[in-house]
Amino acid sequence: MKKELEYKWTDFEKGYVIPEPGTSRDYHTGDWRSQRPIFDHERCIKCGVCWIFCPDSAIRFDNEGYAEADLTYCKGCGICARECLPGAITMVEEEG
């Protein structure tokens, strides 16, 4: 996708319309993170509570159905860890 500084005035659609849906997916909010959630499969009951409460749609389920973070977008807010009923999620500091 074109970066903002690459847009010449002739590159805009009429009325500066953004013609495609969901282009924000090219912006990786995961870079904002200072802590990340880790999931304990022993405790995860695959209930989906973390998923329904994530403001960034950054929880998904792996092939076995356990919850995992989509690190491209996860901002590390910690809501999932706080709301997880069986306490299967812990927040850990990001390195670097």
């Binding site: 903002e4 924000s24 977008y73 809501i79």
Partner: protein, 301 residues
């Protein structure tokens, strides 16, 4: 009731109509509300947003988080732009220029864009009876411009234009009851909701959208804002729950004028439990907790 429903989270449609990559703060419950509203309404919706946090974080050119058609024009006119979209669709379908089918029209605005500058357009649209939903996502201040008070800021909450100190306790006026104002227009459906109760919220959005006849619906959503409320980002869901459990923000609906509570809290928690977690609250001797309870008791009647 709601607690049991939380276990059924996996039954909610997986489709994300509000895309990842939006610029909302960490822990923003307002963005979560938009995500849940998107799931409730599906793809067949045209949205008109007012200027505000949600508009700015979802549409920084060339990035858009909207997977559905969306328009933003100005701050006070979400209801008027939505009225125009609704009228336009009606005229085009009547003249058979586009196929006749149901398309939901949604107006989205914050508390500033609704209870202050947006009241006129909202009142006009409700009075004219357009077939649309109006959802106010209320983070209780003008957050996008740096946390200034609005008429939705609750009594005793500190903002930059209602600072709290020894002499003045923060906001000195009571939160404007927008749901009551909307209900006074005699519209078929009014509700309050909170993303901490996702099923209650999504059911209400669907109910409003499918009202018998014109949808004209007003839903007032409490949206916890960790940045503005000065609360920890991971507590946004808990705070929303506490707002409901202390009776400060009761969850109810008004169907053809009949008030009913949708999430009953038989024994209210003390309001301090809610206030303690947000630095914007000045907790003093008589911090208005009685006044806040008055609100929920009136609703129960």
């Amino acid at each position: 009731m709601e607690k049991l429903n939380v276990y059924a989270a996996k039954l909610v449609p997986k489709n994300e109509n509000f895309a990842q990559g939006h610029r909302a703060c960490q822990g923003c419950a307002e963005a979560l509300a938009l995500r849940q509203i998107g799931k409730a309404l599906g793809k067949n919706v045209i949205t008109a947003s007012a200027t505000g946090c949600m508009e700015v974080i979802s549409s920084p050119f060339p990035f858009t988080s909207w997977n559905t058609p969306w328009i933003h024009v100005a701050f006070e006119n979400a209801a008027a732009v939505a009225s125009g979209a609704e009228s336009g669709l009606k005229a085009l379908m009547r003249k058979r220029r586009i196929p006749e089918r149901k398309i939901f029209v949604l107006a989205l605005a914050g508390d500033g864009g609704t209870s202050d500058i947006g009241v006129q357009a909202l009142s006009g649209a409700l009075e004219r009876g357009h077939d649309f939903l109006y959802i106010c996502t209320d983070n209780e201040a003008y957050m996008n411009t740096g946390i200034q008070r609005s008429s939705a800021t609750p009594f005793g909450a500190a903002t930059t234009t209602s600072p709290a100190g020894k002499v003045v306790p923060g906001q000195v006026t009571w939160k404007k009851n927008m749901a009551a104002i909307a209900a006074a227009h005699d519209i078929p459906y009014v509700a309050t909701a909170c993303p901490s109760y996702p099923f209650d919220l999504m059911e209400k959005v669907k109910k409003g959208a499918r009202a018998r006849g014109p949808a004209y619906t007003y839903i007032h959503v409490l949206a916890v804002c960790p940045t503005g409320w000065r609360s920890a980002p991971d507590l946004s869901i808990r705070l929303g729950r506490l707002a409901v459990e202390t009776g400060i923000f009761p969850l109810y609906e008004v169907v053809d004028g009949d008030y009913r509570i949708t999430v009953d809290v038989p024994k209210l928690r003390p309001v301090e439990e809610y206030f303690r977690l947000q630095e914007r609250r000045w907790v003093g001797e008589n911090n208005g907790s009685e006044g806040n309870r008055w609100d929920s008791e009136t609703v129960r009647e």
